[in-house]
Symmetry: C2
Subunit: 268 residues, 2 copies
């Protein structure tokens, strides 16, 4: 089920720049009872990402209306996509782009854990993320690196892959951001060169600030992950997930994942 | 005018992975009298790019038929797009993807020079290409770097921008590949880390080989371009274009652009 520019449709014009160049941004978020969860953060991030690509962002009220119509009181997952729309052939962005906005609804994931923290098994990805500071942090539509990384395994017992950049720094999971705890300090990778700065990460950083806890956004090496007391991945659909196993290594539960998950859901 | 999986349509399903992730590849090529120009090279490149993303490539005969139907005996430009089609939400590629193939026709460009070499003015782009060897050379749908680079200027007197990677090496134009001549030697950037290895470049390299001329695929610095005897850009729609001006610097015609353009059109 989807709306394209507010009209029920599952059709994007083939000349849209979202297809031609991945020229757009997106969000994936929960809806509960038809209402988007963490909407203020999602809209702020959407607007910031759009601005980074010089893409006009629709007003929040328009998107909220469309989410509400599509979700129709249900629980589920909404994907919002903004593209630079159509225009003459060629890379040059039109001076007055007519943004295409797409709202898609899907039911909750299978085996939805709700707000419960899941234990997951992760692996190292072979693919190294390229560094592009002009696009770092933005949830844009150029996601082939994620696709190639996710294609590295088929074992359903492995839930996520950890990605490093081409200098060897750990950046994130394929689908979510990384936090680790070492000697009482909370750390998350610096995303100035690559990766996506997701809303769950932003909320956890804000909560940590409100609780007076310092979080270091820093370079994290694979051995920092391996020697951490707790390793967690987070995104807006699955909340915080506890890394119980990374390749052959296992971690007992330390309580940190539950703490971060509580912060994630409860912070203003 | 377009065909989607062989059916007249201008509609891509909004759940297609081509939109969601830029998960696909494309070609832009000339048609003359309804027939694709340099088809053997274009199909070989399409098949190689698809294989690099583990994407099944439709048979050449199917694409040829569709181009022929759409072009209907005319001259113009055809764009072919292959995507990994639909599938469940998430980055994991479906094990048995149903590829979406899109064929678009458009009339020849305005002020079409035909097979004549145009003199162009180019500038240096500020954007630096990120390096990603897994995607280097492939004409995939993740083209935000090209969009951002092309957005750096609006002056219609500037025709192209030269792109460097984040180590400072010159890689290509935004829309075409680069050749330079220095002291009688023909050189083109090594594309192992980024850039698109286009069909016009491939044909010129093949022609040079047939004429017994050595071409060095190598690291090229900005000063190598500035001190070159001839600077040229090439692609399948515009052929070889002679760089007559780069920022404040100008080059008199040396004949090299005409030679390369002749090779481009005449090589087997």
């Amino acid at each position: 089920m989807s709306l394209v520019n507010g009209i029920p449709s599952d059709c994007l014009p083939v000349e849209d720049r979202g297809l031609a160049y991945g020229d757009g941004v997106f969000r994936t978020l929960r809806v509960q009872g038809g209402q988007p969860v963490w909407w203020r953060d999602h809209y702020a991030k959407l607007a910031r990402d759009a601005a980074a690509l010089n893409l006009p962002c629709p007003q929040a009220a328009i998107l909220l209306d469309e989410i509400s119509i599509l979700a129709a009181g249900r629980d589920g997952v909404v994907k919002l996509v903004l593209t630079r729309g159509g225009g003459p052939r060629g890379y040059a962005p039109p001076s007055d782009p007519q943004v295409t906005r797409i709202v898609l609804f899907s039911p909750p994931p299978d085996n939805d854990p709700g707000q419960r923290v899941e234990d997951i098994t992760v692996r190292w990805c072979t693919l190294r993320l390229g560094r592009q500071p002009r696009l770092a942090g933005i949830k844009h539509l150029n996601r082939l690196e994620n696709v190639l990384a996710r294609a590295e395994w088929h074992d359903p017992a492995v839930h996520e892959g950890l990605l490093c950049d081409d200098t060897g720094a750990v950046i994130s999971g394929i689908m979510g951001n990384l936090f680790i705890v070492s000697q009482g300090a909370l750390m998350t990778p610096d995303l100035a060169q690559c990766g996506v700065a997701g809303v769950a990460r932003t909320r956890i950083l804000r909560a940590a600030g409100e609780w007076g806890m310092t979080v270091r956004m820093t370079r994290i090496e694979p051995q920092d992950v391996q020697s951490a007391d707790a390793v967690m991945l987070c995104n807006s659909v699955q909340g915080v997930r506890r890394v119980a196993r990374l390749e052959a290594q296992t971690w007992p539960s330390s309580g940190w994942a539950d703490t971060l998950n509580t912060w994630l859901y409860e912070v203003d």
